[in-house]
């Protein structure tokens, strides 16, 4: 299948005129989404989609600079592709000639081939996928008498194939599948309502563990019943693995070489400096097949590779795509990411892993003694700034008293700066969870955060 897509990409590249550079990204996929409610299918979506994104370069980066134009379309029909190419060509004329705008060139790094495709996504009958969602909803409602509502129980899966070709000799194709179960539970007691979300993720439906999704949703909702605001204080905060995955995902944007070279990261100019405690080793490794973001090739068709960004607290490197690398006087780290066919490549992380410690969450809570355990955060986009480093998010969780989890807490914020948080990590858990998004997560304890409440 992917050979056919690659041939299509190459056939478009062949239309480049003398002196033009061209990169063609083509993709197609299928998706299924089932939502269950009150024992019935609330909605069932099935669709095929496809698209093309074309970058066209005029001029020579080494002689006066080159100009790039981009166009995309949600179709692979020949007339649509032709129109898209014409748009990209026209757009290029208006860009500022830039000595750093070049296409990726094969760099000899072998791609790590991984099996990220599960035939189960395509072969599992729809009735079985529907049954997974309905059973998840039923089981969640039945799991605890305090669960008063299940506002959504979803099964979804996707199959995506991508091929990329360029006038600089790039040819790559990759494919992957994903399957996902998620459930939102609402627990109630008197007038009090609290919510919990749980999920399970895999390459195919056979890897999904409905009980994992259900248990997580029910536990999180029920234990929050009776939550109260608490007085403001400075304390140690223990973050749940899911929150840590989110936090690392935010950190990733400050580790993007593109942000750094444009002076939009608090890490800029700090290579070789100690930016965190000695326990912090942060690696972006899309060649680890366990990672949700695992990929053989990056968004420019170069092989993905293992990049050690922070080693024992010392900032070692940033991730680069081809253009940001050239701007910074570096080479691409195989870290081009793009938002599907409608996006152009940028530098980003796909599979961050903070080297795990050995303690369980219980052991960390015991070691911390007194503080706040945070099971979920809100306002990550409005409250975290990777340029200034300012960090302030809404939080809910449980107080830690005498080394154990105590009463539930809501309507508080936790705040600090990202710089200070990295220097204040006191515990890194061994309870690694592979989670959707660009990072895995484990329990993490950070000292001296501002808790704002009453």
């Amino acid at each position: 299948m992917s050979d056919e897509l690659l041939s299509l990409a190459q056939s478009v590249v062949a239309q480049a005129r003398p002196g033009e550079g061209m990169e063609v990204y083509v993709t197609r996929g299928t998706e299924t989404e089932v939502r269950a409610y009150e024992g019935e299918v609330e909605s069932l979506t099935s669709a095929d989609s496809s698209g093309v994104g074309i970058r066209l370069l005029l001029g020579d980066a080494d002689a006066g600079g080159s100009q790039v134009g981009f166009a995309w379309a949600g179709s692979l029909e020949p007339d649509v592709i032709a129109a898209t190419l014409a748009d990209a060509r026209d757009n290029a004329r208006f860009a500022t000639p830039d000595p750093d705008v070049v296409l990726a060139v094969p760099d000899g790094v072998e791609a790590v081939e991984m099996d990220l495709w599960d035939d189960g996504v395509g072969e599992t009958p729809m009735e079985k996928k529907v049954a997974l969602a309905i059973e998840l909803e039923r089981a969640t409602r039945a799991a605890d008498p305090k669960v008063r509502q299940v506002s959504s129980a979803d099964y979804s899966d996707s199959r995506v194939e991508v091929a990329l070709a360029s006038t600089t000799g790039i040819t790559s194709s990759r494919r992957r599948t994903n399957a996902f179960l998620s459930v939102d539970a609402i627990a109630g007691e008197g007038a009090d309502s609290q919510t919990g979300t749980g999920f399970s993720v895999g390459r195919g439906p056979g890897e999904l563990v409905p009980d994992e999704a259900m248990d997580d949703a029910v536990l999180r909702a029920v234990r929050m019943l009776g939550a109260q605001k608490v007085p403001s204080a400075h304390c140690t905060v223990v973050f749940d693995p899911r929150v840590v995955s989110t936090l690392l995902g935010v950190m990733a944007s400050a580790l993007s070489g593109e942000a750094v070279v444009k002076g939009r990261s608090f890490f800029a100019g700090r290579i070789g400096e100690t930016v965190g405690t000695g326990g912090i080793t942060l690696v972006d490794d899309p060649t680890d097949a366990r990672a949700y973001g695992a990929a053989s090739h990056d968004g420019e068709g170069l092989a993905c590779r293992r990049n050690v960004l922070i080693s024992e607290g010392v900032l070692r490197m940033f991730v680069y795509d081809t253009v940001s690398a050239r701007r910074a006087g570096a080479v691409s780290t195989g870290s081009a990411t793009r938002g599907g066919f409608a996006g152009t490549p940028g530098a980003g992380c796909r599979a961050l892993l903070l080297s795990p410690g050995s303690k369980s969450q219980d052991q960390i809570v015991a070691a911390v003694g007194d503080g706040l355990y945070v099971q979920s955060i809100s306002g990550i986009h409005s409250g975290v700034n990777t340029v200034s480093g300012d960090f302030s998010v809404g939080a809910e969780g449980l107080l830690i008293q005498g080394g154990t989890l105590a009463q539930p807490v809501r309507e508080v914020t936790v705040a600090s700066t990202l710089q200070r948080m990295l220097q204040s990590v006191v515990e890194i858990g061994g309870d690694l969870r592979w989670l959707p998004g660009v990072a895995a997560g484990q329990t993490l304890a950070i000292a001296d955060m501002a808790l704002s409440g009453d």
């Binding site: 409610y37 009150e38 299918v41 609330e42 909605s43 069932l44 979506t45 099935s46 669709a47 989609s49 496809s50 790039v68 981009f70 166009a71 995309w72 949600g74 179709s75 129109a83 898209t84 026209d90 757009n91 290029a92 208006f94 860009a95 500022t96 729809m126 509502q149 609402i186 309502s193 609290q194 919510t195 403001s232 444009k262 939009r264 608090f266 409608a342 152009t344 809100s378 306002g379 986009h381 409005s382 409250g383 700034n385 340029v387 200034s388 300012d390 302030s392 998010v393 809404g394 809910e396 809501r410 309507e411 508080v412 914020t413 705040a415 700066t417 501002a450 704002s452 409440g453 009453d454």
Partner: protein, 485 residues
């Protein structure tokens, strides 16, 4: 016939626009009728075809260079079959009859009742009137768009030497939609939107700070006849520069004065989402069962209004073919109604309120806000500050998030100051505010006259749609501010 759109009323309200919807339908009415019949062949209560042809263009200036001009085209149809409580949905980029029929059969797979044979669907095309803008994006020379970017870049950099980075974006979209359903509805709209954004970084002794400002309207490039891009750039740059001397925001509960037009996102999060009927019918909102109850301060009259011409959340028909309306949600503190789409309205035996929206043809419609705003009050904004002995003055808000089931919500500041002795004093670093919707709404004790709207992008269930938010200067007697000081 719920949600029935009639377009004639629009003529008079659009007479200042001269662009009419093109006469060419996205899909031939005969084909639509056959597709709808096929969608219902296995049974079902309602079938709908939503076709869309969207062209977008954007230009980005970053680090003093025009980095990228981008054009995109998305064209396709989503077909929905509703059978009892179940919805089947399929979408396709293939608008040929064969492609549409295939999608119709896929969507129909959920209908389990067994159809009563072929059902004939007759469509009643309404006369449609585009609102469009006077200056359609594709008629604007790309060089002119670049000139806007360059002017903004220069203005931002001229605001202060400490401005080290400027990113300017200009984007436009022209979205033609067609909605036909088995109840006979056939509606069309053309929506033209234009957006201009400036992000600045300032660098000083205390590190870097950021400033952002945007202009976004459901209009064409004529917006730049009334708005100077230099003003947008200077606002963004000043915001970043001011924060270079900012001190950490306080931690704990403080009185808050929100400036007029600071984002209005307070109401979007504190109650807007909680008043969307999809949350209500599932008893997943703190506002369930509260109609007729006092849910806010008597100073609060909140409206969701898709008809406000040119605002970012404005349209002529919603994505289910229903006319938008000015819906009063809270009147003098009393909850009067929720917002409805076709599906949730049907469940309650009422009409859609014109709030059925979707990101694209590849998404199911759901209940969404349009332009949500608090009606202006009577007080002088300066007086409200003067009568606040100590607190925080929020000049500009960023984004927010809400849990509708608990009512807890956050919203972030991007420009805020201390209020000391009734005067606005030192600038503060960014922080989130956290509160509980119904509690915060009851704590509003002053609303001024200086009403203004701001555009935003609202995300829900993975779908983004443009919305407007509006409010005048107001005071909340206590909200938790998540600073560090």
């Amino acid at each position: 016939m719920p949600g029935r759109a009639r377009g004639l009323g629009w003529i008079g309200r659009h007479d200042d626009y001269d662009t009419a919807v093109t006469d060419t339908a996205l899909i031939d009415p005969d084909v639509l009728e056959r597709v709808l019949s096929t969608a219902l062949v296995g049974g079902g209560d309602m079938a709908e075809v939503f076709a869309e042809d969207a062209a977008t263009a954007s230009a980005l200036l970053d680090d003093r260079r025009v980095e990228e001009l981008s054009s995109g085209r998305s064209r396709g149809a989503g077909i929905r079959v509703v059978d009892g409580e179940t919805t089947g949905f399929a979408h396709t980029a293939d608008l040929s009859e064969a492609g549409l029929l295939a999608a119709a059969r896929a969507a129909a797979a959920v209908a389990r009742e067994g159809g009563d044979g072929v059902r004939t669907v007759g469509l009643d095309p309404m006369t449609s009137h585009g609102r469009g803008g006077r200056t359609s994006p594709d008629s604007v020379d790309k060089a002119r768009k670049l000139e806007l970017l360059t002017r903004a870049d220069e203005a931002a950099r001229a605001t202060g030497d400490a401005i080290t980075q400027v990113q300017v974006g200009c984007g436009d979209s022209r979205r033609r939609i067609l909605i036909a359903n088995s109840e006979g509805l056939l509606a069309q709209d053309e929506q033209i939107r234009t957006r201009f954004t400036v992000s600045c970084v300032a660098n000083g002794d205390t590190g870097m700070q950021t400033g952002f400002e945007s202009l976004a309207r459901t209009e064409g490039y004529e917006i730049f006849e009334r708005h100077r891009v230099e003003d947008i750039a200077e606002l963004a740059a000043t915001r970043a520069l001011t924060k270079l001397s900012a001190r950490p925001a306080p931690s704990g509960e403080v009185p808050i004065v929100l400036a007029g037009g600071s984002g209005g996102i307070l109401f979007h999060e504190a109650c807007g989402h909680g008043l969307e009927a999809d949350h209500i019918v599932k008893d997943a909102s703190v506002y369930t069962g509260q109609v007729g109850e006092l849910v806010a301060s008597p100073l609060v009259t909140l409206v969701d209004d898709g008809t406000v011409l040119g605002e970012w959340g404005n349209f002529a028909v919603d994505d289910e073919g229903c006319l938008p309306a000015r819906n009063v949600l809270i009147e003098n503190g009393i909850l009067t109604d929720y917002m409805w789409d076709w599906l949730r309205a049907r469940k309650e035996g009422r009409k859609s309120s014109g709030n059925g929206r979707r990101q694209s043809y590849a998404h199911l419609p759901m209940v969404r806000m349009t332009n949500t705003y608090l009606l202006a009050g009577t007080e002088d904004p300066a007086e409200i500050v003067a009568q606040t002995p100590s607190g925080v003055y929020v000049k500009k808000l960023g984004g927010g998030q809400v849990n509708t089931a608990t009512g807890d919500f956050v919203f972030g500041t991007t420009e805020a100051y201390l209020i000391e002795g009734g005067r606005i004093t030192e600038p503060l670093r960014d922080a989130n505010l956290i509160g509980n919707g119904p509690e915060v709404l009851r704590r509003i004790d002053a609303v001024a006259t200086d009403f203004d709207m701001t555009p935003g992008t609202c995300g829900k269930d993975g779908q983004s749609v443009p919305v407007g938010c509006g409010q005048a200067t107001l005071r909340i007697t206590g909200v938790t501010l998540g600073g560090t000081a």
